[in-house]
């Protein structure tokens, strides 16, 4: 006797279900992927080259020493060196273009925190944390790359490891959120 298959055992249904699953899974996966790729920058700034030439991080991002944001160098700062060091390259021509038009370069910072996280560079720099600890091996990057998994647990973990005696203060919500 041939057993009658139930409706949910039919091939069509199963294939459709597989499709639905694939679409959902694929969507989720590509969403995660897309949120992790670095954004396109107006100029492919080679951090690698600058670090190799001996430029200190704080030369271009000096505000990390005194305030919350490390800051982006102004156009005049870039041009201050590059009008002397005139190496021909298409990226430098882009820079020259911005200088000519006196137009700010629309950088897309990758090391940003959401609006409700009030990160302050200054105490971290004072505590002697190297930039690479959080920003990754910038000396090997062209444009800066976002560092994955910089979430709250990551902050707390570091606070607990580095300053176990001060953890009450460093885990206070108001340290970062207000």
């Amino acid at each position: 006797m041939r057993v009658k298959k139930s409706w949910w055992q039919s091939g069509g249904i199963r294939i459709a279900a597989a499709f639905v699953f694939l679409i959902l899974f694929g969507g989720a996966a590509s969403g995660i992927y897309l949120s992790q790729i670095p954004p396109e920058q107006p100029i492919a700034f080679p951090h690698k080259t600058h670090v190799a030439l001996g430029a200190q991080c704080a030369y271009c991002h000096p505000a990390a020493d005194w305030g919350p944001n490390a800051g982006l160098p102004s156009l005049s700062k870039c041009w201050g060196c590059h009008q002397q060091v005139q190496k021909k390259s298409p990226e430098l021509e882009k820079l020259a273009g911005y200088v000519q038009r006196n137009e700010p370069i629309p950088w897309v910072p990758v090391a940003i925190q959401p609006d409700f996280v009030k990160f302050n560079h200054q105490p971290h720099v004072r505590a002697g944390i190297a930039c690479e600890t959080c920003h990754g091996p910038v000396s090997q990057m062209t444009v800066a790359l976002p560092q994955p998994r910089q979430n709250m647990g990551w902050c707390l973990d570091c606070h607990q490891r580095m300053r176990p005696n001060d953890f009450v203060r460093l885990s206070d919500c108001a340290t970062c959120h207000y």
Partner: protein
């Protein structure tokens, strides 16, 4: 099946002296197969009116519940009428209402089962279904009323990258745990006694129904060993679910009682809420039974006047108990003499919304007390339907009094405020009522609404014995 004859005890509903004992379901047996077929017919017969209701309710759920809720999520909680200082409104009122209704199933089924109240047999399932669906409707509200429902999962304790756990000191977390436990256990408790009936249905259907019931019946064959295990499981659950039931509404009451809000901060709130819940739950069972009896095939065989009568007596008792707790709560608050709390009591009785308070008392106390003592009224299904609906209106008014009417008049008169429900929240409330009815309607055609085996078991135990010339009803206790 081991049967041991025992003389009739007074706890068993005695047929009224003047009436024919055959009016009672237990003494009006029909052959097993006939009864099975009746239940199957009731389950599989759908009329055009049925489908109209299903489609209508589905539309209401879609528009009034999902549509309005979705719109509120996208726009903001401001679409509801809540405001400062009445931060909780109709959503929480309806939440408490549904959780209250959900006590019916457990009460009717578990407590009456434990106390071997025989009249429960035909409608335990109807009551358990109510429990499950009322919980489903009620459990939506903690989500609906969240300002940011898209992060509701922060209420769930799970290890996460933020190193954060929910605050176990918060009654809302207790609520969350209690409601999930209750939902889970009441679903299992609904399912267990369903298994033999599903197997019965499996053997009498074809097509998708057969597939479904085969899946759900878990290969039930009806052997003695299976019956044995099922009985034990049901007994264990019946005992275990009772404390869960008590805990749920107690914890819901703690949402209010642990606060400093004047008028909420009352130690009697736990039992007061439980009694209110059971009152409204049992009332809802009566209402539903009336609807089932008058709309479904063969239900007049299973659900009889005797059941309305018995439930009516219960209702009277609970109405009295509720009045007792209400008085207790009122007296202690008044006697305590805290100014803010006293002001609230005065306001409930004399403020602009005093009609809600009087509605509560009339529906919960005056009407049941005036009617339910009367046997004829108790045995008139439509009268019972109206009375029980009114009791639930009264219980809704009770929650409305406790929540928005109390919140609006706290300790700083400068900031008092009057709450007016707005269309969005009314629509959502209507939507969950529709959801409940829709689920019930669908379930009534998907699962046997009468626990056939329980009825049959009862009928086997009840017999009329001839003692001399008289026929005397007797019952044997089943092990």
């Amino acid at each position: 099946m081991a049967v041991e004859a025992k003389p009739l005890e007074t706890a068993v509903p005695l047929p009224h002296a003047e009436e024919d004992p055959r009016e009672h379901l237990m003494f009006d047996p029909r052959p097993r197969e006939v009864m099975n077929r009746m239940v199957m017919e009731a389950m599989t017969t759908t009329s055009r009116r049925y489908w109209a209701w299903v489609i209508g309710l589905a539309l209401v759920v879609l528009v009034c519940l999902l549509g309005a809720w979705g719109n509120m999520i996208l726009t903001g909680m401001g679409l509801a009428g809540i405001r400062r200082p009445v931060f909780w409104g109709l959503f929480i009122v309806t939440f408490v209402f549904w959780i209250g209704i959900s006590h019916a199933g457990t009460f009717v089924s578990a407590i009456l089962r434990v106390f071997k109240a025989e009249f429960r047999r035909p409608f335990t399932r109807a009551a358990e279904l109510m429990t499950t669906f009322a919980l489903a409707a009620g459990a939506l509200y903690p989500l609906i009323h969240l300002g940011r429902v898209w992060v509701f999962y922060w209420l769930i304790p799970y290890p996460n990258a933020r190193w954060l756990w929910p605050n176990f000191r918060s009654p809302l977390v207790w609520d969350f745990l209690a409601i999930t436990t209750y939902l889970l256990s009441s679903t299992i408790y609904l399912y267990l006694p369903l298994v033999p009936d599903l197997a019965m249905a499996r053997d009498r259907t074809t097509g998708w129904r057969h597939a479904l019931y085969r899946l759900l019946a878990l290969g039930w064959r009806g052997t003695e060993a299976e019956w044995h295990r099922l009985r034990r499981a049901i007994t264990i659950f019946a005992f275990a679910i009772i404390p869960v039931m008590f805990s749920v509404h107690t914890i819901v009451s703690w949402d209010f009682a642990v606060g400093v809000v004047a008028g909420w901060h009352s130690t009697i709130f736990g039992p007061y809420f439980i009694i209110g819940a059971i009152l409204s739950g049992v009332a809802a069972v009566v209402s539903i039974l009336f609807v089932l009896r008058s709309t479904m095939l063969h239900m007049d065989y299973f659900i009889r006047k005797e059941h309305f009568d018995a439930l009516g007596k219960l209702l009277l008792v609970f109405s009295m108990a509720w009045a007792y707790f209400f008085f207790n709560d009122y007296l202690l608050t008044w006697y305590g003499g805290e100014e803010a709390a006293r002001r609230i009591l005065t306001l409930h009785a004399t403020g602009p919304a005093a009609w809600v308070w009087y509605l509560m008392l009339i529906c919960n106390v005056v009407i049941p007390w005036l009617t339910l003592w009367n046997r004829t009224i108790r045995r008139t299904p439509w009268a019972m339907f109206i009375i029980t609906l009114l009791i639930n209106v009264g219980m809704y008014a009770e929650r409305y009094t406790i929540i928005p009417l109390t919140l609006g008049h706290q300790r700083m008169p400068f900031d008092w405020g009057v709450y007016t429900p707005r269309p969005t929240e009314i629509s959502i409330v209507i939507g969950t009522f529709a959801l409940f009815l829709l689920l019930y309607l669908l379930a009534s055609r998907l699962i046997p609404l009468v626990p056939v085996w329980e009825v049959q078991e009862g009928q086997m135990a009840h017999t009329l014995r001839k003692v001399g010339k008289a026929e005397v009803p007797s019952v044997t206790e089943l092990e």
